[in-house]
Symmetry: C2
């Protein structure tokens, strides 16, 4: 624990959404304070943070003052403007480091990085215009998804292509943004590994969870996932390879497709991840605390699971079910305190702790 932050230090967090909120709570359990930097007013994380700066990522003075007030900087989302990072890193360490952000901010860079590591991904091609799209469909096949290279999440910035005729419409939906065509992977189910790397290079993984999506948004994560011992080992080794290649410090989410030909990486997220929320009620050290431990230079928890859990996201008007969810046995509610329950908006989640068979 050389250079580890002491209890009482302040963790700066870029982004004040639900992930920042739960990172703040985890930081408090280790005796840390948090300072949230967030452009929008009254973000969810403000309810549980020691300090909040409301300012734009273009405001260099606000960024510098924020950085000066904290001991280390981390983030809850990967799309932080490069110019903001340039300011921040002059003052305090940013963990995970900028290489992880550079790679995960661009789907093309990310897929190329993964392939260079020898990991399997969906077939993909860089798309800049109709001609490159036509050529890519020739190789990959018409059934595909066109995605913006940058700033996509929860299915946003994506256009499904079913047949050659859909290509022009899909391309116009990209609105001129650099794009990537991805082929489909035939898989039995999707899993994710929430992995962490500490400041001295040690790695810890939580047990893989099995994910089900609805309308492009994560619906449930079930732990343990359906995996053979060999697949489980592969998942951990793949996550470790990625973490080491990035000299990563913090928690990383890796989404994987389970196929007869092995595990295929769907995408990586250089942050705590929705599919790791189950750890709050399944592990003594959850993904949020694991991340805080890593960025604070502490030793990691070992990822040990004490209970099986099914996590379910509460989206939009799922909030109407809160009273009945609160009455469920062995179900832990986690609401984000968002004022308005818009369709598609993540409002909270529940972790259903599975009782051992007696």
């Amino acid at each position: 624990m050389t250079n580890a932050l002491s209890s009482g230090a302040t963790i700066g967090i870029l982004g004040g959404g639900q992930l920042g909120r739960m990172l703040s709570v985890a930081a408090s359990r280790l005796g840390f304070k948090t300072h949230i930097f967030e452009p929008s007013a009254n973000p969810p994380a403000a309810d549980v943070a020691h300090q909040v700066t409301t300012a734009s990522y273009e405001n260099a003075d606000a960024l510098a003052a924020f950085a000066a007030s904290v001991d280390v900087i981390t983030y809850e989302f990967e799309n932080i403007p490069t110019s903001a990072l340039d300011v921040l890193e002059q003052h305090k360490p940013i963990r995970p480091g900028r290489e992880a952000l550079r790679i995960s901010q661009d789907r093309l860079t990310e897929k190329t990085f993964l392939q260079d590591l020898g990991l399997k991904t969906a077939p993909f091609a860089d798309i800049s215009d109709q001609a490159s799209l036509d050529a890519a469909i020739e190789t990959i096949g018409a059934a595909s998804i066109l995605k913006t290279r940058r700033f996509g999440y929860d299915g946003k910035g994506q256009a499904r292509i079913k047949a050659r005729e859909d290509a022009a419409q899909a391309l116009s939906e990209m609105a001129g943004a650099p794009a990537l065509l991805e082929g489909f992977v035939t898989f039995s189910h999707e899993i994710s590994v929430i992995a962490a790397r500490g400041i001295s290079g040690e790695i810890a993984c939580f047990d893989p969870g099995e994910n089900i999506h609805r309308d492009g948004i994560l619906h449930t994560t079930t732990v343990p996932a359906r995996l053979s011992a060999g697949q489980r080992m592969d998942a951990v080794l793949m996550a470790g390879k990625i973490l080491n290649a990035l000299e990563y410090v913090g928690v990383l989410g890796v989404e994987l497709f389970v196929t007869p030909q092995g595990l295929v990486v769907n995408e990586i997220a250089p942050r705590v991840h929705n599919s790791g929320h189950w750890t709050q009620n399944g592990c003594a050290v959850d993904q949020f605390e694991q991340h805080i431990r890593a960025v604070a230079g502490w030793g990691l928890g070992d990822g040990q699971r004490h209970s099986d859990v099914v996590m379910e996201n509460l989206i939009g008007n799922d909030m109407e079910r809160v009273a009945s969810l609160a009455a469920e046995r062995n179900t832990a509610l986690h609401l984000y305190g968002k004022a308005e329950a818009k369709p598609g908006r993540k409002m909270g989640h529940v972790n259903r702790v599975q009782q051992p068979q007696s």
Copy 2:
């Protein structure tokens, strides 16, 4: 859930120590904001609260402004001045109600209340001077403890009497404060029941924990406690009797001695209790959330335990053990962010989650 507060409402908490801090975190999980009222600067709860008022309990304006800004008022400690309660209750409901505070603020009133309910307590006598002390020793025996009737906690305001000759010295330690002489109870071990009563009268109890004290401060709580099925049932019934008699709303801690003649009540605390901290890692709904649910008018969790836990308090320089505790498997750290580790000061606790035997 009629009249239940909605997610987004604000819970006012009197007291900004570690209990207020953990109540704030639990409130955030249900989407509530918290506003802490605390006379001292930078209290532990401030790190995770939406708002903090730093003012004295004599400041009626600050109390009124605080009350106006919240939807309901609760507290983390029982020794709130009556004058402050008089101001607060004009604005917003105080839960648990004032009867619970009136009774638990005075050891004599509390013991009398318990006896009137038909519950066993240690033998006791009201002490106002040397003559009443001499008379009490005659009845109760010399081996006893003299305690101030009000404002005692963690062994403070107490003087042990071993023989008749100690009586005068013990009385002088009370510094003229009204006192109570308590006889000893011969018991095999001490347990506590953390019980809750909801706004519509429903009751839920967590499994009793077994407590070990060191130097008058709780050292460990182990769950489950060593109890027969009958003793377990008695403990729950006794807690229920107390909750109903007080028309209580919230979480109450009841400390009990296990004796061959049955369970004897040591004391009650009208708040979340140190011996209930294990619930954070043993239950889907912990004591802090249970308390918030009750004061917010929500239905209670059922108290179901999913894991066995041993809780250990970290006192004073136990903080030097943090790095090694952080490395323990299945051990959850909970630090309070207090700046200075004074001897006897509660700095945090760990919950060791016990793995099922395979």
